[in-house]
Homo-oligomer: 360 residues x 2
């Protein structure tokens, strides 16, 4: 029997329809075959260390230990996208002009000097540098008063839209607040004004009492499969401290984010056989005052199944795996084999079965 679920934050409607799944949950891996680890350096790859001349001049390099710009030695590097969707050299769009020049910034965050590393199997500290670079570029872009929103996103593998294999994520800064964010902000503001505080804070509380959809917790973040997940393994990472702006985070909070993001991506890759995925960050508009009703967060979408005519036409999603079962599956199959789970690591399945299991 199927069940309608409505996302408490967005009002999005989902049909949870386990009877439609003709395959066991374990077979629900990505559509692409498992990736063979390739070489650490590709002569033609513009993002490989040593090929710095193949990109526009860098905007930022971290972990370089003081070498010159556009030379090897960096651990994380940010460059302008050579094929930008938007450009800062363009005219500022006029208000209420439906066709206006595409002002904005489009940057590539090269996540590693090595061609064959990916999030989930980064060496210690690497994801921290990625998050740090994102934060610094965000602060720089927020200084442009014509930019109003910063969309950070990651496409992993060609099945999720990545055109280059070298590990990289992207930043697109826009001169307007995009529709999905506008709706999320409006909806949460309404819920807040109706009483009950910040809807994200309430959601976090409920998930942590219930525990059945939680994937991982650490001192600052909670990762879980949402109640009305649009696809079987959609996963959210929410800061436990209220805050609408990612740019308002402290260094310690960002380190904890890096740890839980890396851990959740590793668990998904392990449990689902290295699937293609997308993730993105949702946050308040740039230079927004503190918002009592909104939490910045990350949404991860492993590409399992496909959004087809029904989803495209209606905006209603059909999810063939009950979110509670999907979370249990990831917790079980995504565990590190050596059994050494740290605080930001996946919950022990037992801990997640009873509220008494607490938060570590």
């Amino acid at each position: 029997m199927s069940e309608f679920r409505c996302d408490p934050i967005t009002g999005r409607q989902v049909i949870i329809a386990p009877q439609r799944s003709r395959r066991p949950i374990a077979a629900l891996s990505g559509s692409e075959s498992k990736r063979e680890p390739g070489p650490a350096y590709e002569a033609g790859c513009p993002f490989c260390a040593g090929n710095e001349a193949m990109t526009p001049p860098e905007l930022l390099a971290l972990g370089s230990g003081g070498v010159s710009a556009d030379e090897r030695g960096w651990q994380v590097r940010v460059v302008p996208n050579r094929y930008p969707a938007v450009e800062r050299t363009q005219e500022r769009p006029r208000a209420n002009d439906s066709a206006s020049a595409g002002y904005g910034a489009h940057e590539v965050l090269v996540e590693s000097p090595l061609h064959n590393r990916q999030p989930g199997s980064f060496p210690p500290g690497q994801m921290e540098l990625v998050i740090e670079a994102l934060h610094r570029r965000g602060e720089a872009l927020a200084g442009d008063p014509k930019l109003h929103y910063l969309q950070f996103f990651r496409n992993y593998r060609s099945g999720a839209g990545a055109s280059l294999e070298h590990p990289h994520s992207q930043i697109i800064a826009l001169p307007f607040v995009p529709p999905l964010l506008r709706r999320e902000l409006e909806q949460t503001r309404k819920l807040y004004l109706a009483g009950g505080g910040c809807p994200f804070c309430r959601l976090l509380e409920e998930e942590c009492v219930l525990m059945e959809r939680i994937l991982a917790l650490n001192e600052s973040f909670s990762a879980f499969i949402p109640y009305a997940a649009r696809s079987p393994f959609e996963s959210w990472i929410l800061p436990r401290r209220h805050g609408a702006s990612f740019l308002g985070t402290g260094a310690e909070e960002r380190a904890a984010l890096a740890a839980i993001l890396e851990r959740v991506l590793r668990a998904l890759a392990q449990a689902l056989d290295d699937p293609p995925y997308n993730y993105y960050l949702h946050a308040a508009p740039l230079r927004s005052p503190p918002l009592p009703y909104y939490h910045w967060h990350i949404e991860i979408h492993p590409r399992v199944g496909i959004n087809a005519g029904f989803e495209m036409g209606s905006g209603v999603y059909i999810n063939e795996i009950v979110p509670e079962e999907a979370a249990r599956f990831i917790r079980e199959k995504g565990r590190d084999e050596d059994g050494r789970e740290r605080q930001q690591d996946l919950l022990h399945p037992c801990a997640a079965q009873s509220p008494a299991g607490g938060e570590s």
Copy 2:
């Protein structure tokens, strides 16, 4: 240089970014290889003529010339989906209950007795039967007061989510109006109340004066690539006569719809090398009174490129082909080779370049 465009009906925002496309327009075909015509009958296919016993009992058969139910002889056949997302045997969902039993109907419209036929290369009259069957099932489902919306959709090829190759489309009837429709209805109502009549009627008028995005016209329908197309070859088919309900159409109008839909699908297949695609119908809720602000219509999405993290996160789409150029490309490459273009057929490229070219 890129350009922001805003859809006048939905307010959706699109970045038209031709400079991002590294490929010539002709190389923008689907991600799947061209289909080899397979056999007309597959022993294991539940939708092939002769295999009627493999489906639940049929709900409708057309073109059967009086044979018994669930026997061969039909040209178009509707059966319940064996793996339904929603079911009518379930409880009616309670109002305002976010988790409620998945009441609804999920039906498969088998479009041909032959396994290897597809829309765009149907024999004459076949698409008319498909549209007729959809209309009859719509009327039947509208008789259930618990159902409020009927979502008709088609997934073509596995790259667009089709799990069976045999030509078929689907109907999902829901006990609520889905979010995309609700937003479209709200937005067009607002535009209507602000003056200027039905926004769809206005759009049709503008497109027919401009002519540069038009693909095909016949006595009752207009097919064009919208001004703010989300992907290069997104195509809309709109009735030229105002009407919010597909169920309110007459037989003649439906025949004209079948003709233009078949023609546009053939042009897209020809120009884009048989790409996967989805299409769906948007219409007023079931049993809705006449709405002065809404037009029912069909939206077609050839799967060229992929919606990735940016689109998923922001709701803003990046389209690498200027819609006017995409329309010209389809008009040129999608023409029938024998040169016999009828009224519902693609416009001659010249006719579309100047408003003086008129409507045929």
